[in-house]
């Protein structure tokens, strides 16, 4: 209850002091940071805001799009013709493989049936186009023009004609965000084609990749091709990821420093293929049961 005359007149009212307001909002944004970084609770709010921003974003993309179209228009006829000749030659070169692929696949299937192995998975793909690089300079991400409206889901693998490009990490209704394999927090389980050595590939700075935690005497040579091992249940096995660029073996460290170069045109723009979700790997039954019910297991063992 306010008593008349005991309050300042309304034209002096300016709300809380700036420092109090600053403290309130800073605490709010720190809370947002923790919620997003640690618990990933804010994806729904992000989707909502992204829908609001989408028209503005599309409009902002128009000048860049126009510029690119203008460049295409003025690219000379000779360029296109040269590209055409190259593509035709490439097609002829790969025809040998392609024509025999069907035969080989049938043969593979029959042999697998003979050996009673599980059939190889084939997954459908969605063609998408890279629109632009995400503005955030702290991570390596690109935006592609297909989203949840086109049945894209987070976690799908993205490839281009040369190899693995990355993984869909965030899906908006009409766009999705692909984290490239060169991102620092992106890991791809790979194996070396030459000797089948399994390891994990991490992104490194400068658009390169790094094989971490391999012993200094590991059998890795410059020029080795790395393909996905398929152990993660995300990437299909056998997709080319990178080539080993150089191997530094320093006796002072217990691990070798192995720098690799991505196989796909990771830092270029163009068409990509978003592979459909893989079938889930069979759950590791025995291990989880043993961990969940240790008492029962012990009893069973005693009975035996």
């Amino acid at each position: 209850m306010s008593v008349v005359g005991h309050q300042p007149p309304p034209f002096f009212k300016r709300g809380p002091a700036p420092l109090a307001r600053l403290a309130f909002f800073v605490i709010l944004s720190l809370a947002l940071l923790v919620l997003d970084l640690k618990y990933r609770y804010l994806e729904l709010a992000r989707q909502g805001l992204a829908v609001v921003l989408y028209p503005l974003q599309r409009t902002a993309y128009t000048p860049v799009d126009l510029y690119e179209q203008l460049g295409d228009y003025f690219s000379s006829l000779a360029d296109v013709q040269r590209e055409n000749v190259q593509l035709k030659r490439k097609e002829l070169e790969s025809a040998n493989w392609l024509l025999r692929q069907q035969h080989l696949e049938l043969e593979n299937q029959r042999l697998r049936e003979l050996l009673d192995m599980k059939a190889r998975q084939s997954v459908p793909g969605t063609l998408a186009e890279i629109l632009y690089t995400a503005r955030d300079p702290f991570s390596r991400r690109v935006i592609v023009d297909k989203g949840s409206q086109h049945d894209i889901a987070a976690g799908q693998a993205v490839v281009d004609e040369a190899g693995v490009l990355g993984q869909v990490t965030r899906v908006y209704p009409l766009q999705s965000e692909v984290t490239l394999v060169t991102d620092k927090n992106q890991a791809v389980p790979v194996k070396i084609v030459r000797n089948g050595l399994r390891t994990v590939l991490f992104g490194a700075s400068g658009g390169q990749l790094e094989l971490r935690f391999l012993a200094a005497n590991a059998d890795v040579q410059p020029g080795d091709l790395l393909v996905t091992s398929g152990l993660d249940g995300v990437y299909l096995p056998g997709l080319p990821v990178a080539k080993v660029l150089r191997v530094d073996r320093d006796a002072a460290y217990s691990f070798a420093r192995i720098v690799c170069e991505p196989a796909a045109g990771v830092e270029k723009h163009g068409q990509v293929l978003i592979l459909g979700a893989r079938e889930a790997l069979p759950p590791q039954v025995a291990e989880t049961e043993a961990r969940d019910k240790p008492v029962k297991g012990r009893k069973a063992r005693k009975k035996e």
């Binding site: 600053l22 709010l28 720190l30 919620l35 629109l131 690089t133 955030d136 965000e177």
Partner: protein, 175 residues
């Protein structure tokens, strides 16, 4: 609440309109959304416009506006939620606090005041992300602040244009 271009100027300006502040912020957001790839040296337009209005009109540009602008930037750039709001809030507070001092100076010295504010904004963002486990983007990232400070002169001119209009229009003498 500045009514002159600088405090030492004799020219009296028209009062600013609230919608123009919001419109300029929206335009800055639009400029930020233009995808330019990894080009270094592109200023953060929203930070620049926020700093401008915090210096000119610290009572009209609230922390809530800075917070919402930051949230929109977070979503648009795909960064961690709270990264831009935190940096923009500190920028708004510092620029608002310095506003009475900055406006006594001519434009060159004003830009010299703005440069460390913009750099501090970027440092806050870098520290936030490095704590979150991201990669350091390289020193070229900070070039944006320098180009932003250089843009202080044209920005002042453009954003003050509506306030330079004559007080009363005379049909017989249009100028």
């Amino acid at each position: 609440m500045a009514i002159q271009p600088t405090h030492s100027s004799r020219r009296i300006l028209l009062p600013v309109r609230q919608w123009f502040i919001l419109f300029s912020l929206a335009a800055a957001l639009f400029l930020n959304l233009i995808p330019l790839g990894d080009t270094f040296g592109v200023p953060d337009w929203v930070a620049l416009v926020l700093a401008f209005w915090s210096v000119r009109e610290p009572l009209r540009l609230g922390m809530g506006t800075a917070f919402i602008a930051g949230l929109l930037m977070d979503v648009a750039s795909g960064s961690v939620m709270g990264q831009h709001p935190l940096a923009y809030l500190l920028l708004t507070f510092a620029a608002g606090g310095l506003s009475r001092r900055i406006l006594w100076f001519p434009l060159v010295q004003q830009a010299l005041h703005i440069l460390p504010l913009l750099l501090a904004t970027q440092v806050v963002m870098v520290v936030t992300r490095l704590v979150g486990g991201a990669d350091f983007p390289g020193w070229g990232y900070f070039l944006g602040s320098f180009s932003g400070a250089l843009l202080w002169f044209p920005l002042t001119f453009i954003l003050l244009l509506p306030q330079y209009q004559p007080h009363e229009k005379d049909e017989n003498r249009p100028i």
